[in-house]
Symmetry: C2
Subunit: 325 residues, 2 copies
Amino acid sequence: MAAPDEFQLIADLFAPLAAGFPGALGLKDDAALIAAGPDTELVATVDAMVAGVHFLPDDPPDLVARKLMRVNLSDLAAKGAVPVAVLLAAAFPKGTDVAWMRRFAEGLGQDLEEFKVGLAGGDTVATPGPLTLSLTALGRVGQGRALLRSGAKPGDRLWVTGTIGDGALGLLAAQGGLDLPSTDVDALADRYRLPRPRVAFGSGLVGLASASMDVSDGLVQDLGHLCRASGVSAHLRAADVPLSAAARRAVDADFSRLATVLTGGDDYELLFTAPPLADAAIAALAAVVGCPARIVGDIAAGEGVIVVDAAGREMALAHKGWRHF
Amino acid sequence: MAAPDEFQLIADLFAPLAAGFPGALGLKDDAALIAAGPDTELVATVDAMVAGVHFLPDDPPDLVARKLMRVNLSDLAAKGAVPVAVLLAAAFPKGTDVAWMRRFAEGLGQDLEEFKVGLAGGDTVATPGPLTLSLTALGRVGQGRALLRSGAKPGDRLWVTGTIGDGALGLLAAQGGLDLPSTDVDALADRYRLPRPRVAFGSGLVGLASASMDVSDGLVQDLGHLCRASGVSAHLRAADVPLSAAARRAVDADFSRLATVLTGGDDYELLFTAPPLADAAIAALAAVVGCPARIVGDIAAGEGVIVVDAAGREMALAHKGWRHF
């Protein structure tokens, strides 16, 4: 491709995406303006993705953009924040096909619209290495109302949204490692490629949940993080962990896959705690936002995570979850 | 090196840097909290840097970190914003020396302290490619008071802070391409490696300047952007552009270097416009913050940038400035 300069790229592909967010200043200024609003605080998170590490070079470009968006929106959702704006830094290999970039921008635009988020800024550079992306997402939450990992109390219930394990089984499926009907393979692979951040659920949990995080590195490991941050222990009932129909069939065909479900990561569901008093309100919230949630365990004093099977026996897991780097 | 996991890296190197910013939640939660404050808005910017493209692989790691910080703080300064927090995404090549990372973290910490900015969040990933960094900086400015590129009016004066051209001459100097005394070579190379973002000057310009941006891609090109955004033209008097003593000697030795000064980029000074009524207040501001500022031209109706020499003759410049990608 003829190398267009940064201004041209921004103008052609990204600037139209910023049209709906006046604070972006058309991506033509040095920085973006983000209204804070009275009695609110901003919630900020950043995630990076590298071609060949976090996604495959031949993954559809629109899905790469949307996964990058959604991974970050999931972090905001976990804090109870309503997404406001994102900033994108993209290091494109020289010679990146313009068609690839266009489809990437289209995917980004699709999710900006779906989640009503503004593209507030960006930086596009060239790299001799693989495509490297990072996205910063900014959201808004009432002053002092953000859901943290650190608020869980003994006696709280442990909840998860949606279904667990589809992401990890979906990666196996995408790599051809699951001998399941093709509809199951496709459904799981789709969950791996396109997370469903629980944005509406998360903002609805403000005032209900005592602690919250998103499940990205594996349910058991992430629960361990929540327990450490809160200074509590957890009892996780594996048999109560909600599975999709496809994941259920995968586990039924090979029970060892339950470990993948519990530790595999890439779920982007919410893991949260709440006092039993909130049960009815959480069930109502789930109905309103159209996303199920299930009680999967209990919080107690002490430390550590115990995973038990349907008979109440402790399950040993060789790996607790995904380890980075 | 033995590959430490992400949590260990964050804990050992970056978490201490976030200790001064409670909203970072110790870098142990999914996202950071950033207080907005009444009647303020947030200003956000992001910049990416790639080893071998934006810095040399053997550049001192602390200076790489500090340049990344300062390039972003310069964008905030140009909008009149007071820096609040930064988020860092770092893709480290596998096998990156821990000592390198430690010096990088030290440099980051040094500038977090110098500019009283919080490290609010980060993501550390591995890459098979070159070290790739992106930093998002967030600042605060009074509601509706941010300095934009778009406010310049005919009759305004054109100002720059500090000195222009040191960055571009400094890159030449660092590459051994300047036959000057070693003190000059060192002074210029230092300006290239370590920009001085005009943070105090920028926030002081709120209410005084009509338009503002930072000079990063070359004075003439950036002035063109400001004029286009404002719908005005500019007359730039090259002889009035402030040069450091070292840059003055470089230009005196070879007059063609004046083009490098005017178009070379990497200055990270402020380019701003203000009505003549603000002259005295701007001079007072310059004295208070200890950074000189000089009037280098005028804003008029129309479009385009005219650069004139000391005799008032228009100067032709083959290149207007640095082109990205």
